[in-house]
Symmetry: C2
Subunit: 319 residues, 2 copies
């Protein structure tokens, strides 16, 4: 009986490989910098070595591993296993990641974009357990999303479903990394919150001392963490920025609630760090903007897997 799997988490800055049992317990982990600028061949060779190393460190034979799950930045095709030029992995252009890993290790490989894999991990091991319709939204450098219906990732026509961060709210709003304007991501990601905070501080110098102090006196160093910290200390400007963030998030989530009627919306990273300071005004906006029936059905909660999410995302694909 093969009771173990390998999880591979491919990010733009780090690679991580883990061995886990089929209950999702992580036995071992190896973590190295991706050095993405060296291109895909370097990263792939490094990845192969790391997988071998992780299995060895776990005291297992390669034959004890039943499958490899890979969580990677998209876009990618989950059927062919080809990765199509993720923004954070330069040169990974039509890279046949699945088949290369299958050739090397001769076991089945499942690849999935990181937001979808994270959603599945929250469904399997975290806050989404027991729910039929789970929407997971990252809230960090970007706003990604994954939809898990009846225990399966919902992929859509070509593995592009769940791009909830590129819902456009303000077509004349701030420019988004995707090239459009006023996407939810351009309003509520970490960098977007920081940009709004920096602009607000520049406009209201008198009342902006707390935020500035936290950022070491440099407006351009204000980050979303400083906004949360200042808001917790009751700083009026920071509280306003949190309310504004919650308004846009709540508006976007209300639209998603009307469309998807999820049982639960799980919010990651910034929402986890902020807790009810951000979640309560989000819940209030959702109940104001969404239809009564789906609004009554939905729970809005922080994601639960924290630091373990990346590893469990990869593992969730193959257990």
């Amino acid at each position: 009986m093969k009771k173990h799997v390998v999880g591979v988490d491919i990010g733009g800055t780090k690679l991580a490989t883990v061995v886990a049992d089929t209950a999702g317990n992580i036995l071992n982990k190896v973590r190295k910098p991706t050095l993405a600028e060296r291109g895909p061949e370097y990263a792939l060779q490094l990845l192969f070595d790391m997988v071998h190393e992780t299995i060895e460190l776990a005291g297992l034979e390669p034959t004890a591993i039943s499958a490899i799950g890979v969580s990677c930045g998209g876009p990618l095709d989950t059927e062919t296993g080809i990765v199509y030029s993720p923004p954070n992995l330069p040169g990974w252009d039509a890279l046949p990641l699945k088949s290369q890993l299958e050739s090397e290790f001769e076991i089945p490989v499942t690849i999935e974009n990181d937001a979808n894999a994270s959603a599945l991990a929250e469904y399997r091991f975290g806050g989404g357990r027991g729910y039929n319709a789970v929407l997971y939204m990252t809230m960090s450098t970007g706003i990604g999303g994954g939809i898990v219906l009846d225990g399966q990732v919902y992929h859509g026509a070509n593995d592009s479903a769940g791009e909830v961060g590129h819902q456009i709210l303000l077509p004349d709003g701030p420019l988004c990394g995707c090239g459009k304007r006023g996407c939810l991501e351009a309003l509520c990601s970490g960098p977007a919150i920081a940009r709004r905070a920096q602009a607000a501080v520049r406009n209201e110098k008198a009342s902006a001392t707390t935020l500035l102090d936290l950022a070491g006196g440099r407006v351009e160093d204000i980050r979303s963490e400083h906004v949360l910290a200042a808001a917790r200390h009751g700083d009026a400007l920071a509280l306003h920025l949190v309310e504004e963030t919650a308004y846009y998030m709540g508006w976007g989530i209300a639209n998603l609630v009307n469309i998807l009627n999820p049982d639960i919306v799980l919010l990651g990273t910034i929402a986890v760090a902020a807790g009810d300071l951000l979640l309560n005004p989000i819940r209030k906006t959702v109940s104001e903007f969404a239809m009564t029936r789906p609004a009554e059905a939905v729970k809005i909660a922080p994601a639960q897997l924290g630091e373990a999410l990346g590893d469990l995302a990869a593992v969730a694909l193959v257990v």
Copy 2:
């Protein structure tokens, strides 16, 4: 072998019952006014009589019918078969429609809200055939929606999924029937187009003669049909109104494309009447506002079932 089904289409103004074979061919139809103001008991008794009559007119015994499909305004619960106060059916408050029909006819009854049933009909018999992820949007008195994934209606947590018309685009926009502001429905439904047209005519009397002529000279009688007719004749104001409608529809559909990554979006009634006059600028806005990958995957097309949709919606539930 029971090779026939009954379809029941319950609207606020009319009731229709049909007998169809399992390929979706309608054998017979009875149609009567709902007289909704007389309350649910009157309508239910009428419906029972109509079902009996339709079966008899088709020359069939009641035992030849395998199931009854019911398309009805929501909200309703598809599992318990209880209808919860649809806006167009006053007094239908927690009405156990499914169990009452099952008691009367002693065969299985499936009930579904009309937008979902219509989406399923388009999937089974119309423009959605062969597609795994189908989004159907009505575009008439309101903007409803139904999502069909892998041949099944997607219901969400409590049968409220697919409320695509209540996606909020302009939180300070025109009041919607649902009580919120700036929903897609409040911008692009037939009455919403008419309201925008009437306001535009009041503001630009000089160039508004075509629209006014079509409405018999009365601003308050301008309807969405007049806007389409005037636009077809090249009237500048009407063309602007069509472009504006397409902009909002395209914006809303782009968000849906990013979230659901459908193979096809089928647009009903007004979009069918307008054809490419409206569909082409909608397609243009979708390709500008949606992410490249899901935008490339999606077809945006008119619904195909036309007048037969209501009957086939009910039939599609049980074939």
